[in-house]
């Protein structure tokens, strides 16, 4: 479980996050939604510790990352996996080497054990024939899947996904969503997904947090998103003609 309390973050006197408090549940897919520029990415980067918060507390099972030393943070981060928007696979390494990298760096596993773990993760994301390919040789969806395999190779307790569906066609996007949801439940991880894709919200949103201009406006589940009376959330959810028509039929 990740608990954040009264987080504030500014850049050059412009407030990006304003007094946000949320509990992200263990074993669930927690979605942070909002328009571009609403502060979603900054929030996730603050939670991970890539940005320092101006005020507030962030607890990982009662361990406050805000007050940790760099070494302590590095140790905590070994319990995290992150799927970046662009995949962030290392260009100079093959898919297999990318996935194996955290194991090489932090474990004393034998070569055989590492191979077994890498194969397990790549099988899980249905990339069992891409071991020797370089990131540049993969499609967008395959890159995301390889990045998921790398993120879960150390069995993390916390998984962060930044816009996992960006740049993907709707079918591949659903595959990636389902994969993340499946992994979250299988390994009982606390997963935080940062998205503005309503399909993702409806497919896998067990807990949904809506942010507007740096302020938490609403929290609930995917069903509540459609019936909420929050003005900002309604503007966001029912922005397209298609969703407006759906609302009329509700």
């Amino acid at each position: 479980m990740i608990t954040i309390r009264n987080i504030r973050k500014s850049f050059n006197k412009e407030t990006v996050l304003n007094d946000i408090s949320v509990d992200f549940d263990e074993g669930k897919t927690n979605l942070v939604i909002g328009q571009s520029g609403s502060g979603k990415t900054v929030l996730v980067k603050c939670i991970i510790g890539l940005f320092e918060v101006d005020e507030g507390e962030i607890f990982y099972h009662n361990r406050d990352i805000v007050r940790m030393t760099l070494r302590e943070r590095q140790a905590l981060r070994r319990e995290m996996g992150k799927l970046f928007q662009g995949g962030a696979l290392f260009d100079s390494l093959t898919v297999e080497e990318n996935v194996r990298f955290p194991l090489d760096m932090f474990t004393s596993m034998t070569a055989g054990e590492k191979r077994k773990q890498v194969d397990f993760c790549l099988d899980h994301v249905r990339l069992d024939t891409a071991h020797k390919l370089f990131p540049a040789e993969l499609s967008g969806g395959m890159q995301k899947r390889a990045a998921i395999a790398r993120a879960i190779v150390q069995n993390p307790r916390y998984l962060f996904c930044d816009e996992p569906n960006s740049g993907l066609d709707p079918i591949t996007a659903i595959v990636i969503d389902k994969l993340i949801s499946e992994i979250t439940h299988e390994f009982n991880m606390t997963t935080i997904i940062n998205t503005h894709d309503m399909n993702s919200v409806m497919e896998i949103g067990e807990k949904v947090v809506f942010i507007h201009k740096g302020i938490k406006q609403w929290e609930g589940n995917s069903e509540g998103v459609l019936t909420s009376d929050n003005e900002y959330l309604n503007d966001f959810v029912f922005a397209s003609n298609l969703t407006k028509k759906i609302k009329e039929k509700l």
Partner: protein
């Protein structure tokens, strides 16, 4: 006082670079890779430039010493001392600042904008140390070898052009390069090379590591890295020469 900010950031980054590596074996493998990429792959350009510079220094000295009172073997001495004192360390340092420096800044800058550095941090890897320390170690270990190669090839270039053009005889040239030889000049040159190696890698790495934006900013960081490291090489050349050679 604003100029002190990047200086402070540079030393903070170097503090992170020099912290204890997570896994020595991985760093050792990275260092070997960097020796190949930054050192061995630079041998060709160092050889070519040194041969031509040695040849040009010899021809120019010959042209300017057209005096019957000055013995011709001094041409060999001049070529040798120019290569040992200045060319093989400083000029090769400047050339490598362009070749290696731009490579380092653009590689690390690209990793920054594509979030590969963030990915390392999330894994719990000290990205500064993992990416920069092997490069510094590789150049500190290998650039002195490049300097020695440059010295040898420059002196050889001078001899080859002397024989080829008849500017002076082979025996005069060889006598000249042995005459009044000061071994400390090699030590002096190697000390400079080590300092320049640290500058060539750490300064462009600093600019690449702090890139934000897109491809355009990566290009700018690469240029800034090369310019800053070239200026620092020239500055430290003066400082080290005063410290090591002044009487």
């Amino acid at each position: 006082m604003k100029f002190l900010q990047p200086l402070g950031s540079y030393f903070i980054l170097m503090g992170r670079v020099l912290s204890k590596p997570e896994k020595g074996k991985i760093y050792y493998q990275q260092t070997v890779k960097e020796i190949v990429s930054l050192g061995i792959n630079s041998i060709g350009i160092v050889i070519i430039i040194s041969i031509f510079m040695g040849a040009v220094i010899t021809l120019q000295t010959r042209y300017n010493l057209e005096n019957p009172l000055i013995p011709t073997y001094l041409i060999g001495l001049t070529a040798r001392d120019t290569m040992l004192l200045e060319f093989s360390s400083t000029i090769v340092g400047l050339i490598l600042a362009g070749k290696v420096g731009s490579n380092i800044a653009s590689e690390i800058g690209h990793m920054r904008i594509t979030e590969q550095i963030d990915a390392l941090e999330i894994m719990g890897v000290n990205s500064a140390s993992y990416l920069i320390l092997p490069k510094i170690i590789a150049t500190v270990l290998f650039n002195p070898i490049l300097t020695l190669i440059s010295m040898f090839m420059g002196v050889f270039g001078g001899w080859a052009i002397s024989v080829a053009t008849g500017a002076l005889t082979s025996s005069d040239y060889i006598y000249g390069i042995q005459y009044w030889f000061v071994p400390f000049y090699i030590t002096y040159s190697l000390i400079k090379t080590v300092v320049f190696a640290i500058i060539i890698t750490s300064v462009p790495a600093f600019f690449g590591y702090h890139v934000s934006g897109g491809a355009l900013e990566v290009g700018r960081a690469s240029t800034k890295g090369v310019v800053a490291s070239s200026i620092l090489i020239l500055l430290f050349n003066v400082i080290l020469t005063q410290l090591l050679l002044a009487k």
